[in-house]
């Protein structure tokens, strides 16, 4: 064999063998992974979907407009896409186990992104997921409310409306950028009131290293289109006469902005006592002060208590200082009426929330009446 031929034969041999094996894989895939059409029965026949088999259940449902919450986009790393599976879909996968509690395992709860649709299945999901929609929204306005929090106001497509309860959250998707090779979704509470049916507003705080927050702070432009999915969540105001003890920090302001505006819209803002504690480090971390002080002034039963943990000399701060937990504790002991029952509403970082829940418990508030939205 001459040198020239050798030059040609080797690549041809590798190419040929690779092509042959690739063809074999494709054929196997076509034969083995063809499960035909699969019927998904949701909530005992409430809804029946016919989807293509072989794909993960999460995608099968999303293709038919049922959006089970998912923060990681089906990679099995967020554990949010839980559904109750009533028919047999095989044993729990090792990839699901870390995200399921003992009770959930006993109750047939599974991660829908890890279940491959191979045969007809019966599942149960919360009814409100039927209300979840997908929007190709346009960014109408981006505003800096503090040095690290942006208020992002999105317009829903023409002719589309959203119905939600204040306190609920939506999923915000950003496209691949820099080293991030996949679309990424994260959950943010709506800060706009439900009465604004054509818009959704989010408060997005820059988290160092956060994929979505970094994108929003560095690249997101007004006029850009983003995919939103929602509403989700069970954080909302309970319809009682109890005093509302609300505690927030950072972008945890979002659901309360929506809740207060919604109560104002519906004329129920003056029907009960509302205490709103907002914790921040310095004055540059607090925002919406004008609006909240004005509410405090005009509404006798609304009390706004911002507290700074590290006020700077130039802040000229004459309000409460210290950790929000200390301020909350002192108000619960000395200022807030002991007679009327209380409900807790919390939104913020897990550390702050856990500390506040403890303070509330220590001050004899019932744990089951403390509702919260924890940043994940």
């Amino acid at each position: 064999m001459t040198f020239d031929m050798l030059f040609f034969v080797a690549p041809a041999a590798i190419g040929g063998i690779s092509a042959g094996l690739a063809a074999l894989i494709s054929i196997t895939d076509k034969i083995v992974n063809n499960y035909g059409d699969i019927t998904i029965d949701i909530n005992n026949g409430k809804k029946e979907l016919v989807v293509k088999g072989g794909q993960p259940m999460l995608f099968g449902l999303a293709g038919e407009g049922i959006f089970v919450p998912s923060a990681c986009g089906g990679r099995g790393s967020c554990g949010a896409c839980k559904v109750k599976v009533k028919s047999d879909v095989g044993p729990v996968m090792p990839t699901e186990v870390p995200y399921l509690t003992k009770e959930e395992l006993a109750d047939d709860i599974r991660l829908s992104c890890q279940i491959k649709l191979k045969q007809d299945v019966d599942i149960e999901i919360p009814e409100e997921l039927f209300n979840v929609q997908e929007f190709q929204a346009t960014i109408e306005r981006i505003r800096d409310v503090t040095h690290d929090i942006k208020e992002v106001y999105c317009k829903l497509p023409e002719g589309m409306e959203i119905t939600f309860t204040s306190g609920q959250y939506g999923q915000f998707e950003v496209p691949p950028y820099d080293k991030v090779k996949e679309k990424t979704m994260r959950a943010y509470s709506m800060s706009s009131p439900p009465s604004d049916k054509n818009h959704l507003e989010f408060l997005i705080r820059l988290v160092p290293g956060g994929i979505v927050t970094s994108y929003v702070h560095q690249y997101l432009q007004e006029g850009q289109k983003v995919r939103l999915v929602g509403p989700f969540g069970d954080f909302f105001v309970r319809d009682t006469d109890a005093q509302m003890i609300c505690v927030a920090g950072g972008s945890g302001m979002a659901p309360f902005k929506s809740i207060f505006q919604d109560m104002l819209d519906r004329g129920t803002f003056d029907d009960r006592d509302i205490w709103y504690f907002f914790g921040a480090r310095t004055k540059k971390d607090v925002y919406y002060l004008d609006w909240l002080y004005k509410l405090d002034e005009e509404h006798e039963r609304f009390h706004f208590v911002p507290a700074l943990s590290e006020p700077q000399p130039e802040d000229n701060w004459d309000g409460p200082t210290g950790l929000i937990t200390e301020v909350l504790d002192s108000y619960l002991k000395n200022t807030i009426s002991q007679e009327t029952p209380k409900e807790g509403y919390l939104c913020g970082s897990p550390g702050m929330l856990d500390a506040c829940i403890k303070v509330m418990g220590d001050n004899d508030m019932e744990t089951e009446k403390i509702y919260f939205d924890k940043f994940a």
């Binding site: 041999a13 094996l21 894989i25 895939d29 083995v32």
Partner: protein, 199 residues
């Protein structure tokens, strides 16, 4: 030495399990051997997967070697070609097992991708070539080596269960004592090596 003494398939089969154990005589496939042997159940799954993949890839690589590489006189491509075919076989096996048996997929599935880069798999294909095995011998050698690997990892994980509770010096805990254990096991296995020679 030449390949002549071992023509008897049964002798070759037992030799590849005991006297020339791929792990304990050739020390191939050590990384997963040491890391997975912590857990007996996983060891069993991985051992099973290695056995299946070894048998199938050795056979396939024999066909590719004798009907493609040798006729074209490009044996020097064997390394890359063998690896490609191993990867392809693992991929296909994963799909087929997923379809055929959920239970088997659960026990094997997560180990299959790990096996693509297991050097024992490539090693067996290369030995098969060096020793000029026939097709039947290759299949038997592949199956035997797989069973040998499976046996060795089960033995090691059983011993590790004991050493976990044993008063091992702090600095040797974990991988340290495991490597020493493997050394003892290898010595025991090499004791058989005079009985049959595959090399």
């Amino acid at each position: 030495m030449n390949a002549a003494p071992v023509l008897n398939p049964f002798a070759l089969f037992f030799a590849s399990i005991f006297t020339s154990n791929i792990l304990l005589a050739n020390f191939l496939g050590m990384c997963s051997f040491i890391s997975i042997s912590k857990d007996m159940k996983s060891s069993n799954g991985l051992g099973m997967a290695v056995t299946v993949v070894l048998t199938v890839t050795t056979a396939l690589n024999w066909v590719i070697l004798n009907y493609v590489l040798i006729p074209l006189n490009v044996q020097y491509l064997r390394y890359i070609v063998f690896i490609i075919s191993i990867a392809a076989v693992v991929q296909m096996l994963e799909m087929i097992i997923d379809r055929v048996s959920q239970a088997l997929y659960m026990s094997l599935g997560i180990f299959l991708p790990l096996i693509t880069v297991n050097c024992a798999i490539l090693g067996v294909s290369l030995f098969m070539e060096i020793r000029n095995y026939t097709f039947l011998q290759s299949v038997i050698y592949g199956l035997g080596s797989g069973l040998g690997w499976w046996l060795a990892i089960m033995l090691l994980s059983a011993i590790r269960k004991k050493t976990e509770k044993a008063p091992v010096p702090a600095g040797l805990k974990g991988p340290g004592i495991t490597v020493i254990t493997i050394g003892f096991m290898a010595m025991a296995f090499i004791g058989f090596s005079g009985m049959l020679a595959v090399q």
